[in-house]
């Protein structure tokens, strides 16, 4: 009886040792994978930082202004503000009384 128990215990010890061994190697593999991911993450973060800086550099107001002016755009003028009702009305064919109201400045 006691010997039986000893044999089972011995096998269990061996099994546990193997399990531990493979677990250790699994852990190492995962560790390497994590390190790889961390490196990728760092690289992506660095790339994002550079892209963000480049995007901000391309969106500089003075550059945008030059591009916008080439498209015939300009700063908003006071006369360009209209009531919502007025804006709808100007979509319809212009009537003489509305033409008179059109800004001339």
């Amino acid at each position: 009886m006691l010997r039986m128990l000893s044999i089972v215990a011995a096998f269990m010890t061996l099994g546990a040792a193997f399990a531990l061994y493979s677990l250790k190697y699994d852990t190492r593999r995962v560790e390497i994978a994590v390190q790889g991911k961390e490196r990728t993450l760092e690289k992506l973060e660095a790339d994002i930082a550079i892209l963000k800086a480049e995007r901000a550099y391309l969106a500089r107001p003075d550059r945008i202004e030059k591009l916008a002016r080439k498209q015939g755009l300009g700063p908003i003028r006071e006369q360009q503000y209209v009531e919502i009702g007025e804006a709808v009305a100007t979509d319809a064919p212009a009537r003489p009384d509305q033409q008179k109201r059109a800004p001339s400045r």
């Binding site: 973060e45 930082a49 963000k52 107001p61």
Partner: protein, 547 residues
Amino acid sequence: MAGRVSAAAREAPALRGRGFVVAAGIAALFLCIAAQLVRLSLATQGEIRLAMAEPIARVFSRPDIVDRRGRLVATDVGTPSLYADPALMLDRDEVVEKLLAIFPDLDAADLRRTLDDRTRRFAWVKRGLTPVQAQRVHDLGLPGLAFRREPKRVYPAGALVGHLVGQVNVDNKGLSGLERHIDETMGMEVVVAAAQSRIATVHLSLDLGVQHAMALELREAQARYKASGAAGLVMDVKTGELIAAVSLPDVDPNRPAEALAVDRLDRLSASVFELGSIFKTLTVAMLLEEGVATLDKVYDVRQPLEIGPHTITDLHPQGRPLTVRDIFLHSSNVGAGLMALEAGSARQIGFLSRLGLLAPARTEAGPISAPLLPKRWGEIETVTIAYGHGLAVAPIQFAAAFASLVNGGTQVVPTFLAKSNASPSSERLVSSKTSTRIRELLRLNVTTPYGTGRRAEVVGYRVGGKTGTAEMPGKGGYQSKAVISSFVGALPMDAPRYVTFVALFEPQATEETKGQITAGLNAAPVTSLLIARIAPLLDVLPERLEK
């Protein structure tokens, strides 16, 4: 037999006791060894790691800076830095020669001395390389040269924010301006390689769009009037947030060496000026606040004002007594002097110091240049300060005082950081009645046909303000041809939301200004152009659309 047994029985406890002592001793010894092992493994580990990291690199990761609408102003990007491991080098002369071909600005003697020290395992050669330079060094294939990625500060907004952000050193540590403020208030994060900062993003009060519009208008004005410099700001009238703050010539934070030139100093906060007639706003406010006079009180300004050896005259004498209102609208120096004399210097000092104009102040971008007070504050000083001479203050400090006069009378502290939900200061500097009167007067100065500020009018936005043409002090007194012409204003004037300030330094007479250099003919129209442009950016609706 019985005797032997009894003898053994007698010795047994003594033996057991001895055995116990030996066992305890050995156990204690092992415990000590175990404890020492634990102590060594726990305590020394950190020190060793730090000691290894220290000499290699100690750089700081900085948080991003964005404007009030989230546009990027400053950020860190990882750049390669070149270091040498002298112990691994084969031929130092070859290394020095080849590196000099790529970096002509390297100090050859210094580099050779560094590389000669074979005991060193780490020495910086050059930091913050461009990708192209890094590739060229890499292509040399020399042993003992390697790279580390380090954070480098870049400013995509460039010169637009040069005066405010300040500088960082090669380790990415803030030296001046907002960068230094960030280090002092938010702490510094030490990193050994380029990494994203975990410190929260810094939100500026500036709006890059408005800042750009201001810079553009000032640049055009500078060219139009051939001015040596220009400065301008837009400030939230309640919170003191600076929406725009521009000083020309500007500096590019990506080229730190530029910032040291004297003519590139920030004219808004790093210099003090006698600002001239815009100070009359303060004089009139003092009169009303102290109950010395009402706007309708009449002063006799027909004769020049004589105090001791000094004579104060008006640029355009009206030849008749003027009310306080007209003194302001005609910008009469004699009138301002008479009003200040009636109030007295004690009241004047008290009022100006209550507005914070006599004490040094600071913003997040650094200390504001301290006001330059007169050595003695007698009658003549009281008179000249009434129209803005004899007391030099930084424009930013004046703008804050002006804002508190027109916002209903509460204190304004200028700030460069966005205050999303901070409640405005409730400390009252002047009564709301005085504030209302001053607002009416400033608006009148733009709407009246003879008001000095009439050229600042922008249809639909109810601009109000005051002009100032201050002669600059030079060798042997004031120079009549070298002036600072300025316009301080607010919009919409009946319930102001923003204060604007525009100053041109040494503008020249042109055809457009009819040969004049007064602020009404240059700074006022510049303000008009500026406001027409920035009002839509500031969400100020034209008058006819207001409910």
